[in-house]
Subunit: 421 residues, 2 copies
């Protein structure tokens, strides 16, 4: 980043030179809004809008139960998994078994993987995680611990600075999120996984805030397991199903406890005894949410003609621009950036603390700039490179500046808390 | 049932006198088909078709992340639960807490409830079930048993005739399905629950094949827990989320292991320690599948102006008619009815065994009569009273008769097995 001041001309040039500029046309975006919350809920791809009509009206409406075969609903978890694979560096070796499957929620999938990892590393019982991990990751470990007892499953949550020094031969599994949901700070998966393996520790990486926006090489980095989200950067729609990655080397020894009929090797034989599928399908449990999963399936096609490196490049450029523009406005000094400035340590979101973060966020939304708030005092802005322009960033910071300098956030209507904040 | 022969005039009179005849107009149904598989996947209600457009285009498309508040996505699991409650006899007492919530799949929910029931009845460890229960019910118990060890969780699966005699003071929890998925036979929930309680056994009733089509009085029958399906008689769409019922008396002592963030008492405070919601919301886990759940929410409105008793009455009349018509055709004697003839013991489906059941089913589908096949040799026909007419039944049996008498099922194209059968 240079320190030179940026003018509107510069912004226009950035948009003109953006190789992803045309991707915006593939989304339905409301008029006159800037959406800085694609990291929380990705917007509607036009292909998903079209697929919604197809899956509801033609597949469900016309073809009814026969769609399980005719429209291959039964294959959806696998086919969506295969679309996600190249975006997270999975299945890269020739003849590799499929290692990714779409199913359930991130939370449910974390439970499956924690139990699986503990069953593989059965002479250990500790789950190491980060105390400011996304809460559901910790909650699922707590639930498993409660169920199994502390002797068989113990959650050890340490602060970020202590993670690496806490990895030792007593740990069964390390559960971390690649990009911190609050600060946007990135973990080095490769290095931490290597360190974990040196101590015989299995790793589960939560890619909720990273899949689809940052290069990930699960196979090359020797990751054991991962989970990720369908409704953030993959734009799969609200509550889109999540995914699981499990390295092929573990497939023969896995045992996940949510052994529902869709994970059976022959679900339609209706045997009384569970016999898991030999591959990644053993992570399936109940009947998949076909409509929601179909939207994700369609949404993933938006990635067909772009590379993750292009996305990452633009993501950093957008956030660099945001940071520079904030710096240009003296009165925005009251916003404290808690995201690392160093590009390698930064995901695709920026977090600023401010006493009035909640009200500022509400005022931004009222002005058409959709950011989000994270308790207790964080204003979070996310950069989804497939639909944001550099002009969008310019407008966002201009608006933010007006709200802060004119203290618009003091208006009562921006102070009232809503159910979801 | 009388033994008098039925003619087409009688059928027309039945339709003319049917108080539910007009409900068919509330569904989108493909032309020239008779859908006898609403017990497997309910058809598309027009309100759900409309809602699909709204939730995708307006809520997701236009309002994006703000829909969690603006369109109350955050309340969906609860509001859908409240719509289901009257259909299963829940929340009937004044000032009763909400006892029903919409979430996840039947399989995942069975796991939550089994673990919950075992934690309440913690000095016992046996799960009693029926060896021909729907397989996923057994599989989930097997998964929990594998996880906890046989000393803490043991599945005892006995044949139907031995269930009542196997209920004793050693059993922690009884897991049964009200209507058998193969035979359509109905369990007497009230009597069996009473017997179980006499021995200190908690009950979990799986209502997958019964909710929405047969009167159920969970509160009055003192049921502890139940699960059920959103995509069968509730017509919520393929893979619609399931539901959980938990009697209010257990709310304070429950502990379910899939403790995801949506079950936390304050999910948006992002605390590191799980503290469950005090009520039924503690059964939530991850982010709900908003699109799929919205379709179910809409679909349930079809029940607004009908009673379950009306539905049950017509369901029995439709299946009575099917049985009588089959009897009128000499060559259909090769089909063996395995569903109980006694009305009280019969759900809303009929099961016939036949060596060529698979091929007969395929031939029926080719003729526009959508039935289904269950391995190894069962032809299953389901009666969803909200959209089927008596004429539909007449046409179905006429077609069945032609297929069997002319041996149309011998055609090679009907013999090839498909992925989902």
């Amino acid at each position: 980043m240079t320190k030179q001041e940026i003018f509107f001309d510069d912004i226009e040039r950035m948009d003109a030179q953006d190789p992803l500029a045309n991707k915006q046309k593939e989304f339905y975006l409301p008029d006159n809004k800037v959406y800085l919350d694609g990291n929380s809920l990705g917007p509607l791809p036009l292909v998903a809008k079209q697929r919604a009509k197809e899956v509801v009206e033609q597949q469900w409406g016309d073809d009814l139960i026969t769609s399980w075969n005719r429209h291959q609903w039964i294959e959806l978890p696998t086919s969506v998994g295969r679309k996600i694979a190249p975006l997270i560096g999975a299945n890269v070796k020739p003849d590799c078994a499929n290692q990714v499957i779409c199913c359930d929620s991130v939370s449910v999938n974390i439970f499956k993987l924690l139990a699986t990892a503990l069953s593989i590393n059965s002479n250990r019982h500790k789950i190491l995680s980060q105390s400011d991990n996304f809460p559901t990751d910790l909650y699922m470990a707590q639930g498993l611990s409660q169920l199994l007892g502390n002797q068989r499953c113990e959650l050890v949550a340490v602060d970020e600075a202590s993670i690496e020094s806490s990895i030792d031969d007593s740990i069964a599994v390390l559960l971390l999120t690649q990009i911190n949901f609050r600060t946007g700070k990135v973990h080095d998966i490769k290095r931490i996984t290597e360190l974990a393996h040196q101590h015989g520790v299995l790793v589960i990486w939560d890619l909720a805030h990273s899949a689809g926006v940052i290069p990930i090489e699960l196979d090359n980095w020797n990751v054991d397991f991962a989970v990720g989200c369908g409704y953030k950067y993959f734009n799969g729609g609200p509550g889109a199903p999540a995914f699981i990655y499990a390295a092929e080397r573990h497939h023969a020894n896995m045992q996940q406890p949510l052994s529902g009929w869709m994970g059976h090797q022959s679900p339609f034989e209706f045997n009384a005894n569970y016999q898991s599928d030999a591959g990644i399908k053993q992570f399936l449990c109940g009947t998949p949410a076909v409509v929601s999963m179909s939207l994700l399936d369609a949404a993933l096609d938006v990635f067909n003609d772009v590379t993750i490196n292009q996305i990452r490049e633009k993501s950093l450029a957008l956030s660099d621009l945001f940071i520079r523009l904030v710096k240009q406005h003296a009165c925005l000094k009251s916003l404290q950036l808690i995201t690392p400035l160093e590009r390698n340590n930064r995901g695709s979101q920026l977090a600023f603390t401010h006493d009035q973060a909640y009200a500022i966020c509400q005022a931004l939304i009222a002005e058409g700039i959709i950011a989000d708030f994270r308790a207790p005092n964080i204003l979070r802005v996310g950069f989804s490179p497939l639909f944001l322009s550099f002009k969008d960033i310019y407008r966002s910071v201009e608006t933010l500046n007006r709200i802060v300098s004119e203290k618009i956030y003091e208006n009562e209507m921006f102070q009232v808390r809503q159910a979801v904040t």
